[in-house]
Amino acid sequence: MSPWNGPLEKIDDYRWRIPKSYKQGMRVPGIIYADAEMVKQIREEQGPEQVANVAFLPGIVDCSLAMPDIHWGYGFPIGGVAAMRVEDGVVSPGGVGFDINCGVRLLRTNLMQDEVSPKMKPLMDALYSSVPSGVGSKGRIRLKGGDINEVLRKGSRWAVEHGYGQAADLEHTEENGEMGGADPSKVSGRARERGAPQMGTLGSGNHFLEVALVDKIYQADTARAMGIDEVGQVMLYVHCGSRGLGHQVADDYVKEMGRAMTKYGISLPDRQLACSPVNSPEGQAYLGAMRCAANYAWANRQCIAHWVREAFCRVLGVKEADAGLELIYDVAHNIAKIEEHQVSGHKLKLCVHRKGATRAFPAGHPEVPQGYAHIGQPVLIPGDMGRLSYVLVGTEQAMKETFGSTCHGAGRVQSRSAAKRRLSGRDVLDSLQSRGITVRAGSLAGLAEEAPEAYKDVSSVVSVAHNAGISKIVARTRPIGVIKG
């Protein structure tokens, strides 16, 4: 793909503006969070053009935003954040993406490196066999006719009611794992058919399970409030989404909204941005279905986390109560939500799209769980599979500037084929193992495509978010075991 040569005005060391005048039809300017080094790389592809395209969407307020992990996507850039007035703005399924409520959860443990390291092989084998993963993986749970509606309405609560995890997990999940306003009647038969056999599966691509160690603690008190106590403590990550059900919901509504655009007199530079007014039948139907898919994804991560806990305790010979396997938090990073924000001194009801972006609400916000009310919402930023991941917290600055949002991951810098040309799956496996990381992967080719070298350095991504003030670094972890679908 060709480089992007449009105007990018430096606001300060971490903020760059695409002026509204760049393209006729932009309703607001674009703002990209990045440092000077990252900007060079961002310009190499069409991510900034996508930031400008999002600025065309009716009802968009303030700016079309891109977080520091911005990269070239389809429709919205990955790392894109945009808020539209509910009153006269739109909702766009392309602003959420095909993997609705792709997200991350982090579990803490009471165990330390020396207790877990000698058992990494059996632990990874047990995790690999307990959690179905890979292309087309089918789950251990088979949802029958009526069950799926329950999942779509109740999300994580459905899982807990069926014995997967604990009630305490719900409080530490964004939206309590159960987004209100889910309307199962807006989810198509095809979506249900795809979703029914896939509950409790990881999938493929960049989805993973990770056993990690706390590597550094930056803010001890804040970390302690989350149960992150000391360097060397073992942590567990789950990263996945709504599987075929979410993909089908997105397909259905991108198509339907594409048809409705003429009716609403909307014209856009990219059909993947297809949208409808939030308060239209199409907009409401999409939000009702999207929330169902989001709930499915939360139930999915809840079930997976349950099997992860079981496998962990079995292999390490500890009781669940002694293992301290508490859920620190679960975040969604592909989602649209109706939220209230202050814009130029006015309180506005907005439809906030986060596509490859994480909510980052500050201390004291009513959506932040009680236990974290004094520190802010935990933000989980996984890196690539060989390097570090970060735990941050949301800030007031994020509320002021980014509708309470921050980055979501490392962001790719190399295409999948380029990654494979450079390194074979075997090379990647050897290199990870030489760094003390035990790997289980469904396919070597998949492993090559997800090579650490194909990603930006997550440390530079989170340091931009931290320095810009849209979230603050609390701790970082490094992997010792990875499962890739």
Binding site: R194, H247, S415
Partner: protein
């Protein structure tokens, strides 16, 4: 003439498919889609699948055609490799597709595809060529 070529995309993948006519380009796009997902060498053409679609424009027909096949793969685990397009008029398509159910002992899956997207989707009627970006 190559049936399809891959397009480099940082996060995802894309393909350009060609044919002697647009119908054949649609068939080759489907072939490209399954080639990205699996090694098709060992897949036999023994299970048939009839597909009939109608859309308001050719671009949406391409979007729907590929996404319908992804839905079939998800639900039936059917790996398809032959796509005989019986009828094609730019709005409607009838196809007889052939392949077999995924058998982990004989077939190798390479990667999952979440969806075909509208981004950079192109139907080039003059050159009987189609282009699509896939969400991987």
């Amino acid at each position: 003439m190559k049936r399809f070529e891959l397009i480099e995309h940082t996060a995802d993948m894309g393909l350009v498919a060609r044919g002697h006519n647009l119908a054949e380009a649609f068939g080759n796009a489907a072939y490209g889609l399954f080639s990205i997902m699996a090694d098709l060498d060992n897949v036999q053409e023994k299970e048939p699948l009839k597909v009939e679609l109608r859309e308001e424009d050719t671009e949406t027909l391409l979007f729907e055609w590929l996404n319908y096949l992804l839905y079939i793969f998800d639900v039936e685990m059917l790996l398809l490799k032959r796509f005989d397009i019986e009828h094609f008029d730019g709005f409607a398509l009838k196809a007889n597709c052939y392949g077999e159910k995924y058998d982990p002992s004989r077939h190798r899956l390479k990667r999952g595809i979440k969806s075909a997207t509208y981004y950079m989707l192109k139907v080039d009627r003059e050159n009987n060529q189609v282009q699509v970006i896939l969400d991987v």
